[in-house]
Symmetry: C2
Subunit: 287 residues, 2 copies
């Protein structure tokens, strides 16, 4: 018969995990149990507090659906997503830095021609965003796909509108031999992460604001290169110093320049060049 004292319990659980066939899973589960038990031993929760924790996690899972990922939002607001990002992108090489994906990405945005306006249904100021996708040496990458998404001029993503069918402010652009891209979107505005769920309650209870500085989301992929998940932020955007998800990086901030008086075209224009790292496979092949 096996009875475990308070002191023995952690070792008892670790021993039970020792037979995990997959060595990586054994390592992850053992570390999880050690850190989780250390957390419990430090805070010594009452049974009511433990149950509050159970209820918070349950509500977080139940807030998720095909358009909302509350556990990603929790990971984002606790700095975990950016920590995982930092761990996975340690080798600075002049490549454009990555940042969080956030909870609003939707697959299969329409592929559009260069210059297309993804914000035609929106009413606010427009911005032309253009530049190049290159390798570390500045050579243009042909056939790179830029998957772009953004909130509208009121700070909301299409998926946040109940009953809205179809996509808005989303598009995919494929570079030609010059590596250039070019599209029109809304001028990014700051907005709150969704606050109607458990994460919103956590932010309120901890006295934190839910705001993010305005930004345009990108996933950029090309054969032979690491896929880049990133944003660009307008210079001077509000909340650049207190992003609710800790995702700002200096080199992702770029000027959105107002249109010169007497000229035509979008209200603002921004130019940003993305530099991609070779994929691990491509690096190995080159060695």
């Amino acid at each position: 018969m096996a009875e475990f004292s308070e002191a023995e319990l952690t070792d008892a659980v670790l021993e039970r995990l020792a037979g995990t066939p997959d060595p990586r899973l054994r390592q992850v589960m053992s570390a999880l149990v050690r850190h989780l038990h250390a957390f419990i031993r430090e805070i010594e929760p009452s049974e009511a507090e433990w149950f509050q924790g159970i209820e918070f996690l349950t509500a977080t899972g139940q807030k998720c659906d095909d358009k909302r990922q509350e556990f990603i939002l929790l990971s984002d607001t606790l700095g975990v997503s950016m920590l995982v990002d930092a761990i996975n992108h340690r080798k600075p090489s002049g490549a454009t830095p990555s940042t969080v994906m956030g909870p609003f990405y939707v697959k299969n945005a329409p592929e559009l021609p260069m210059g297309a306006d993804i914000a035609s249904m929106d009413v606010g100021p427009k911005a032309r965003v253009s530049g190049k996708v290159t390798d570390a040496a500045g050579r243009p990458i042909a056939g790179a796909v830029l998957d772009v998404w953004q909130g509208d001029s009121t700070g909301k993503y299409d998926v946040q509108y109940a009953g809205l069918d179809g996509m808005r402010l989303r598009g995919r652009f494929r570079t030609g031999n010059d590596g250039r891209y070019d599209f029109v979107t809304s001028l990014p505005v700051s907005y709150p992460v969704p606050t109607d769920g458990p994460v919103g309650k956590m932010l309120t209870a901890t006295g934190r604001h839910p705001m993010r500085p305005g930004h345009v989301h990108f996933i950029i992929g090309a054969p032979g290169y690491e896929t880049l998940v990133t944003h660009i932020f307008p210079t001077g955007a509000e909340y650049l110093d207190s992003d609710a998800v800790f995702a700002v990086k200096h080199s992702l901030v770029t000027k959105f320049v107002p249109r010169a008086a007497g000229t035509n075209g979008p209200d603002y224009s921004a130019s940003y060049d993305f530099s991609l790292e070779p994929s691990a496979q491509a690096r190995q092949a080159a060695e």
Copy 2:
């Protein structure tokens, strides 16, 4: 503008939590971030592994409903529930020890007369369970309510049968002046914790069996005493040395004695006396 390096991120999140108005919440959230980040720094998850974690937590939340609490099951199988139990019941006083509540408790079981058979719909061997509820000095406690629940002779709880309305193998019993209780139930059998959800997958992946030794659940409450959440286990039950939720305690194991040949009544009988601790309020009033 605030950009945080891998090394700076944890402190940046802690600083953001420093304004939490409630001091206990500030302590809990800060400890959570330190331990969670330490876990991430130790295992260095790939982005795919991080997303597997997000998906596991989401599925765990989504498996919960009014009859199923998968996060409690996760807490149980990772030894967290018994650790919280140990932390909250440190003062040994001769009182009966507590153990996990498990995921199958249902409120408002019918109040029944002493001697009632809560297993009348079940087909397996029966057991009479009886004894006293007393204080530490062995004095009977009148008006104690024993809330009893149990799996049936196939190892399933009523809530695990799809479409079964009404309760089975549940009842509440209220002691009189002699502190005695007495009811008939099924002979407890070992059974698996639910394995059709994320926790079941985790047990399989870590090479662990899902079995619990047979037991009868009790919540025992009386005015002026700490409410006791516990089980009794039959002596010799299978899995007493490897309970999937680490919940066995020596002093909760008791003999279920077969009926003597030629006598009447249930197939087995077990006698167990519960001893309750005074509530914190009652202890303060006595000082």
